[in-house]
């Protein structure tokens, strides 16, 4: 792509403008939790929840849910402080190109906190991003003009000039999308007072207590299997919070039995839902799993059709962090939950769990002491976005505190 010094303004739909013009026209004037933003976001969220839309794009349903007035109110309630909370100013967001909804979560929370926002939407973004933009425009018709004056979603191709100008102008730069993007963005300096909020490459795993699985009623096991399939197949298991390894905790016999039953259930859900993978993905899975075997990490590989592959790891310590293709699960056994302390790495983000008590999980979190794992959520909730993500309290990150003492 040629280095075009202009960008396309996609929300509010507009012109092809140079970056100076974009920055010049962006007004301020919002408060933290501004009523006009709340109204706009609620109206937008309501439109996303329309049954026809939510059926076609289930991820928009989750997003609409996130933007309900009660959710927005809850987000703001958590911010009470003796200090005066104020917006950061101008926030520049760089979301991933191929998880279409991430940009909305990041932007909506920032707007709710009263910031001016510029979101860089990839020119490669998918169909869902178009639906989102259309829906935003619908909601804009009834919105206060301050929304149009303070919020921008733009697209531009590879242009270091534009990225540099936006980086220099912003008070906070939010970078999603992996190590490569973070490194790439850090070549462009921020203003001295500004800071980065970055979301580099992450990987996630699931942990199941074998005895609890074996004791659970059939209906519960079916529900968990369904949740696990949602967690993993929705974004081809490439979302940072989709588990790649399943750790089985317990005695060997229990773990073998629980795993066998779990895999049966998952296979059934995959079949019933009609999840398939195309030939390219099927080959990808062979390349990656055979590679694990060649390296001595996989003891056995089992394919149940193309959609589901199970790898038995030679040792829990070698759990793969890289993407292995949609529906490819490594399995390993642990004697106790505490063994995870030795295995967890900084890049581990979400631990989905089944069969553990809250205090056990909290103890593990303390023992991990920040060396890894930012979220422990039940199986089935891996992809549910939360205002606390990757260990950051986003509403807090999107604001600053003013100390007032009398």
């Amino acid at each position: 792509m040629l280095d075009d010094p202009k960008l396309d303004v996609r929300f509010p739909a507009g012109a092809h403008v140079p970056v100076e013009e974009l920055l010049g026209e962006l007004g301020g004037g919002l408060d933290v939790g501004d009523e006009r933003v709340r109204e706009f976001l609620s109206a937008f969220g309501r439109r996303l929840l329309r049954p026809a839309l939510a059926r076609r794009h289930p991820e928009l349903g989750s997003l609409g849910f996130f933007l309900r007035p009660s959710e927005l109110a809850r987000t703001l309630e958590g911010l009470g402080t003796e200090h005066v909370r104020v917006p950061r100013g101008l926030v520049f967001h760089i979301p991933p190109a191929n998880v279409d909804t991430v940009f909305v979560y990041s932007w909506a929370l920032s707007a709710l906190m009263g910031n001016r926002n510029i979101v860089r939407l990839s020119p490669r973004s998918g169909a869902v991003a178009e639906v989102i933009l259309d829906t935003l425009h619908e909601a804009l018709t009834d919105a206060d003009p301050v929304i149009a004056a303070t919020q921008r979603i733009v697209s531009y191709g590879r242009s270091d000039g534009i990225t540099a100008a936006l980086s220099a102008a912003c008070d906070l730069r939010v970078v999603w999308g992996g190590d490569g993007t973070v490194r790439e963005m850090r070549r462009h300096p921020l203003a001295p007072h500004a800071r980065d909020l970055v979301f580099p490459d992450r990987s996630s795993f699931a942990v199941v207590r074998a005895a609890a699985w074996l004791c659970a009623p059939r209906a519960a096991r079916v529900t968990v299997a369904e949740g696990f399939v949602n967690d993993t197949y929705w974004f081809d298991q490439a979302a940072c919070s989709s588990p790649r390894t399943v750790f089985w905790v317990g005695a060997e016999g229990d773990c073998d039995a629980a795993r066998a039953d779990f895999c049966e259930h998952v296979a059934r859900v995959v079949t019933v839902r009609g999840w398939g993978v195309d030939a390219a993905m099927a080959v990808e899975k062979r390349v990656s799993t055979y590679g694990l075997a060649a390296d001595g990490l996989a003891e056995s590989i089992e394919f149940r059709g193309n959609a589901l592959a199970n790898v038995t790891l030679a040792a829990a310590a070698t759990a793969p962090r890289q993407w292995l293709g949609a529906g490819t699960f490594a399995h390993a056994r642990l004697g106790s939950l505490a063994e995870l302390v030795m295995l967890v790495e900084r890049r581990d983000q979400t631990m989905t769990h089944f069969g553990f008590a809250k205090d056990e999980l909290e103890r593990l979190a303390r023992e991990l002491a920040g060396r890894g794992v930012d979220r422990m959520v039940p199986v089935g909730s891996a992809l549910s976005f939360h205002r606390v993500w990757d260990g950051f309290d986003l509403p807090a990150e999107f604001t600053r505190l003013v100390t007032v003492i009398k």
């Binding site: 979301p95 990839s122 490439a238 030939a279 390219a280 990808e284 055979y290 390296d295 059709g305 193309n306």
Partner: protein, 341 residues
């Protein structure tokens, strides 16, 4: 002796036992290969070709797979991967290197004859001079062994060197000569030459994607080259560095690619992984007895193909067509923001 002599039944019988033996030999000699076979529980007997365990060809990009000691490696071949990818690495000992050269020669002798022919190369000399030899350069260099009086059709700027071609034809135009080039280069540069190439034998390879974009298929390619420069002896071929020395050669009538006696193809349905019926497209698996120094004797490619017929063409055995490359799997992950821009 012709390397296009075995009917499918005899070929399968001969190859299945030889490849089964090779599988066990590589299992002993190549620990990563052994670990793969163990993990997928692949065990003899392998009675039919389709029962042999295959490796995805891309593993040669991600792993070092060799069945000879490091000090026995005589040559390491690499392919230029697509951007951002590791190249494939293929390890040959003396024996495997000699066999691949010998069998490639035997295969091409079928259409070129015994003697080295004067050779016209539809490329520029710079592709073989570049110190970081491209796949194209390596292909040209390899083929140059089969010709003499090598004459390049393009000058170093990539323009047609009409004078060189004229002089070549003045010297050799009335006897049989060899023309070699990549399919797209041939299409681009040969037709406009206005030269009489009717004594030439064209060997070409390199994929049809760019020609397909121009709505040119093999039949059209052959028709136009015959009409516009008199080339009627045309042989496309299919081969890869991971099975170096094995080329699947197009028959004289252009009715498909044929397997030499020491090789075969299996088209696999990528859903069931069973052998696809004649006429049904699938992934191309290539088998060959030449890879003795690395476990590349049974490879699943990322190319789509279809068997058009068995023992019903110019040469015996399977007659197949390459339909194009399988697009690479792409995931909707979080780790991709700027990507390809």
């Amino acid at each position: 002796m012709s390397v296009f002599s075995l009917a499918e039944r005899e070929r399968e019988a001969a190859l299945a036992s030889e490849l089964a033996a090779l599988t066990e030999r590589h299992r002993q000699a190549c620990p990563p290969y052994r670990r793969i076979l163990d993990a997928i529980a692949a065990r003899p007997p392998y009675e039919r070709l389709v029962e042999l365990p295959w490796l995805p060809v891309r593993l040669f990009k991600t792993h070092e797979l060799r069945s000879v000691r490091e000090d026995q490696v005589f040559r390491v071949l690499t392919s230029s991967g697509t951007t951002g990818q590791q190249p494939s690495r293929v390890y040959l000992d003396r024996e495997a290197a000699a066999a691949q050269t010998r069998m490639l020669a035997a295969t091409l002798r079928e259409v070129l004859g015994e003697r080295r022919l004067p050779m016209l190369i539809v490329d520029s000399r710079s592709v073989v001079r570049d110190p970081t030899l491209s796949a194209r350069g390596a292909g040209v260099l390899g083929m140059m062994n089969f010709g003499r009086d090598h004459t390049f059709v393009l000058d170093d700027q990539g323009g047609v060197d009409a004078e060189a071609v004229e002089a070549f034809l003045a010297r050799h135009g009335s006897e049989r000569f060899l023309v070699f080039g990549f399919t797209f280069m041939v299409w681009l540069h040969l037709r406009g030459l206005g030269a009489d190439l009717s004594q030439g034998v064209l060997i070409h390879s390199g994929g049809w994607k760019r020609l397909a974009e121009q709505a040119v298929d093999n039949a059209e390619f052959r028709r136009r080259l015959a009409a516009e420069c008199g080339l009627s002896r045309i042989h496309n071929f299919y081969g890869m560095v991971e099975q170096i020395g094995t080329v699947f050669l197009e028959g004289p009538e252009g009715d498909g690619l044929y397997c030499p006696d020491f090789a075969d193809v299996v088209i696999r349905d990528p859903e069931s992984w069973q052998e696809a019926a004649v006429g049904e497209p699938g992934l191309i698996e290539v088998v060959s007895t030449l890879p003795t120094s690395y476990p590349g004797h049974v490879l699943l490619t990322e190319d789509l193909g279809v068997v058009r017929g068995v023992d019903d063409g110019h040469w015996p055995g399977k007659r197949f067509e390459v339909l194009g490359r399988l697009p690479r799997a792409e995931a909707r992950g979080c780790s991709d923001t700027m990507g390809q821009g």
